[in-house]
């Protein structure tokens, strides 16, 4: 009875799937799927070599400081960094006094309450504050940015495939729309107010190219601030904001694996030892 029932159920599911397959196959052959402009022109991120790549990778503090400078002078005008606090910057090699000064001089003030009147006001950030947001709310952000809300950058490099390389590629990937694209897809012209970038999922991005010219920031350590360099540095900085414990993780991982390899080797030997009399011909 069970087997007859199973046979009928199996016949139904397998049969109907096969019929669905035939219907789909006929449709696929008679009307092949039309290629989309995204499929044809979207590009995977470029390859970039970072100091934090690989199982023993670590952050280059100089690079993170440069990246922070790019964030501070360029990105932070529109993008928030809500999961990072000023105090976290000590991991970049700044001392307590420097962090305090960075917080105090930050262009955007922290929302507060006037102690005398209770009315909303602002105050200078202190190290324990998270980075203040550039816009009071999403409505203000959209209104100031051609209706696109600049996303928070704290986790950006973990929220995209190939995150760090993606950020770098996006920042350096702005270009004029290729002529062959318009020839193949005449309707796909980049709309007014958007910017063509093959590394962006749908190719047209609301953000105007943020890094446009060499020397846009002046690095304190003498590194030449080319667009490519700035993009690498800020993508490294944003990797740190997304994964601040990367170095702890790599260090702990190395120690754990060494311990486990030794422990497992010992476990294997004791296993062989205990089984010695059972694993040979009697």
């Amino acid at each position: 009875m069970v087997r007859i029932g199973a046979f009928l159920v199996g016949l139904f599911f397998a049969g109907w799937l096969f019929i669905s397959f035939l219907i789909g196959a006929v449709a696929y052959v008679s009307e092949p799927p039309v290629p989309t402009v995204e499929k044809a022109f979207h590009e995977l991120p470029k390859h970039v070599a970072y100091s934090f790549d690989g199982p023993l990778g670590h952050y280059d503090k100089q690079q993170l400081q440069r990246g922070f400078q790019v964030f501070k002078e360029v990105c932070s005008a529109c993008h928030s960094l809500k999961f990072v606090a000023f105090r976290d910057l000590e991991a970049l090699g700044y001392n307590e006094a420097e962090v305090k000064a960075i917080a105090k001089q930050w262009a955007i003030k922290t929302p507060s309450v006037d102690p005398a009147t209770g009315e909303a006001s602002t105050r200078e950030p202190v190290p324990s504050d998270y980075f203040p947001k550039p816009f009071a709310n999403n409505v203000a952000a959209a209104a100031a940015n051609n209706n696109a809300i600049p996303p928070d950058l704290s986790l950006m490099t973990k929220a995209r495939h190939h995150g760090s390389a993606y950020v770098y590629s996006l920042l350096t990937g702005y270009q004029a729309q290729p002529a062959e694209l318009l020839k193949e897809f005449p309707d796909a012209k980049t709309p007014e107010g958007l910017h063509y970038n093959p590394y962006f999922a749908n190719l047209n991005l609301a953000m105007a190219p943020p890094l446009t010219a060499e020397g846009q920031v002046t690095y304190g350590d003498g590194t030449k601030p080319t667009v490519d360099q700035m993009a690498q540095d800020v993508s490294a900085f944003l990797t740190w904001t997304a994964e601040p414990k990367l170095e702890n993780r790599h260090r702990a991982g190395l120690a754990t694996l060494i311990f486990l390899l030794i422990a497992t080797g010992l476990a294997y030997m004791s296993y062989q030892n205990i089984w010695a009399d059972k694993k040979k011909a009697a």
């Binding site: 109907w16 789909g24 199982p55 986790l155 694996l257 294997y268």
Partner: protein
Amino acid sequence: MSFPWAEQYTPKNPVMVWIDDKLPLPRLAYNAVGAGYPVPRNLNYFWNFGVLAGLALMIQIVTGVIMAMHYGANDLVAFSTVEQTMRDVNAGWLMRYAHANGASFFFIVVYLHIFRGLYFGSYKAPREMVWLLGLVIFLLMMATAFMGYVLPWGQMSYWGAKVITGLFGAIPVVGEPIQTWLLGGFAPGNASLNRFFSLHFLLPFVIAGVIILHIWALHIPGSSNPTGVEVKGPQDTVPFHPYYTAKDGFGAGVFLIAFCALLFFAPNFLGHPDNYIEANPLSTPAHIVPEWYFWPFYAILRAFTVDFFFVPAKLLGVLAMFASILLLFFLPWLDTSPVRSGKYRPTFNKFFWILVIDVLILGWLGGAPAEEPFVMMSQVAAAYYFAHFLIILPLISRSEKPLPLPGSITEAVLAKYGKTDGATVAVPAE
């Protein structure tokens, strides 16, 4: 519930004698996972995965309880409390990554455990109840994993919850009220998050309870073995401790090496980047995919694209997806071959490996976007899945001519280690 030659628990220390007299818990442990449990001497490494699944559950419970201390089950703060755990809690990043990757490793070892059962016929009499309880554990794991994935309240959490509860919405007439009832609202929200957290905390302990039943049911007939030939006498078994505790110790080491390699050096490899974006009901991700361990079932769900007369394709997909798991409950009665081990079943063996490849393909397709040619491929692969269990397996178990079985476990072991003169005669169990 053991063989008559099992070693007996005889405490020597007066404290242990006193405890044994009042509450024989050490005796229970001794008989369950100690020297008092005789186990076939020929188990291969596939028999390690039961213990490893238990270890994975322990890891999940320990890391999960710690995570819960820092988690806020509220849709306004859930995402940021998880982030704060990663950043500001001592070793919080370790707990979070261990818990997220631990779920994946739990499924890896359980899938290998199920694979072992399928190939070596562990589901057959007299171990049907062990198999059925194992499937109950599997279903509980799936529910727990699904609800756990919702808790960080990222984009995939939110939209995954919406899609999976939407499956119930496909049921005619009562579907939509059921979906609303499950979610506590018309869309995933704070009510859903709270109940998922509550159940996600509860279910692992239910799993632990069913594991006790699973082991209890196993100890009545005793463990199966790669030959599928039952234990015939004391020469066929070794005490669980120290023989299999030592082997499981080594297995646990290998498991932890693989687990830690991923956890420390590629912790986001198995995750989806979209879950690092906070849940946004107004923005649908381009491709909504569950975690990898659900992909084969997700592929079956999406393989149904054509309505069957008045039955909509979506409902068919939902029924098929549930059926793809529920049919495993009938397996002991679908496969009627008296031979357990796939080693001695030449026809079964071929179809079994086709099934393994088929499920891997279904897994790949479940993670692929829902477009052609993936949908067509998943239709063929899903059709084979159902045909294998419901049509092919019952048929071959009737017609197949099995290879000669070894006379006993000991005979098989001695053949392997070079003594085949047939001098060993099995001593029948009393």
